[in-house]
Symmetry: C2
Subunit: 233 residues, 2 copies
């Protein structure tokens, strides 16, 4: 697997992992697309580790995520000097370093507001936990949902939101309520100390720039796809 | 609502809508982020039309999607000359023009493969139809799902995929199967004439560049959010 064209040259024999402050430094320099790619590398590296692979080079890793080896090397060099010339990268160390930068070293407490069919799917989704995201509570206004347990999480009454925020002090919230409710709920989340919102409601949240928001609009994703198909014609 | 600083100057009194070939031309020049923003404008314009609003200027539209008026004007000028100095934009014409560029003038036939909890949520999602996306069929391998009807769509046996592709000649497919099945199913979809895939499976599809793929990985979106929260600290 290793190839000699790979990785940043390191005179030293050691492959140091990143310290917390290294991670903080490299975080500032990472452009948005690189963050997306690191997340994809991370996903593949997890799979490789599960399959018993110990090392990988930039060509192999690039192939797994449809990215050129040069881009892989550039992205990973932003993490510090974690590759070894002629050996490539140690899967375990890469997972640690990327996880550190992406914040998966931290245990993130997450709450879900809105348990419709999408919220239901999110509660059942098994991909969050191992990335360090723990769904600690879910809330909905529908009496048929309240009190049920989905994916191991009990659904609480939406009116208890302030109490839930105070009990768990979650970092992040997933917002899966209808568009017309989203602004009001987002305001309550921020007032309760939430610093990041993953917003599935098809509307633009207008919040202080201190609050991080990532929007996922399923219909917009289909539009992007249709656009991309037309461009290829 | 109109303000005089708004829109590209048009000497003519008419606000022409875009012809199909105009749309094809402007499509080539649109960078990816502009496509995403057009999709957001489109969403807000629909809401405005439903609320009875007839015209809007770039400042107002920008405010609705957290974008500066200058960016709005630049994005919309790529659609051709559809604004009027001192009047702003006609909501109806903007919807038509953006819809044309994004491909929502076309009726897209879409199939869904994989009716787990996410697939279930996608079938119940009401945001696709009015953007021109019609879910014509859904398939799953789970006997408990096969034959049930969700969101008005009957779930068929996954083994009938080739038949479904031949019956409906769909343009697009939504892939919501487990990662380990995704590559195989994607291959069958492409063999059956699908030209675009919205991929929810947490894996990178390796397909011909003639096939458009948009990936949505829910765990990666949470990672992006956590990264963004850390950057603000």
């Amino acid at each position: 697997m290793p190839d000699s064209s790979d990785a940043a040259p390191i005179p030293d024999d050691e492959s140091p992992s990143l310290s917390a402050s290294d991670a903080a430094i490299s975080r500032r320099n990472l452009p948005e697309p690189a963050v997306g790619r690191l997340s994809l590398y991370y996903r593949e590296l997890y799979r490789l580790r599960d399959a018993g692979t110990h090392s990988i080079n930039s060509r192999e890793l690039g192939k797994l995520v449809n990215v050129s080896p040069a881009v892989v090397r550039r992205d990973l060099s932003a993490l510090g000097t974690i590759g070894r010339r002629g050996v490539g990268y140690t899967v375990e160390l890469l997972i640690e370093a990327i996880g550190g930068v992406l914040g998966s070293g931290h245990q993130w407490q997450v709450i879900l507001v809105g348990v419709g069919s999408l919220g239901d799917a999110l509660l059942r989704y098994r991909g969050f936990e191992r990335l360090g995201f723990r769904l600690v509570s879910a809330l909905d206004a529908n009496p048929d949902r309240i009190g049920t347990s989905i994916g191991g999480v009990r659904v609480r009454d939406a009116s208890e939101l302030a109490q839930v925020l105070s009990d768990f002090s979650p970092d992040l919230a997933i917002l899966a309520v209808p568009a017309e409710k989203a602004g009001e709920v987002a305001g309550e989340l921020v007032a309760g100390g939430i610093t990041g919102i993953l917003n599935f409601a098809p509307t633009t949240l207008r919040l202080s720039s201190a609050i991080a928001v990532v929007n996922v609009d399923l219909a917009s994703e289909l539009q992007r796809l249709a656009f991309s198909v037309q461009q290829r014609k």
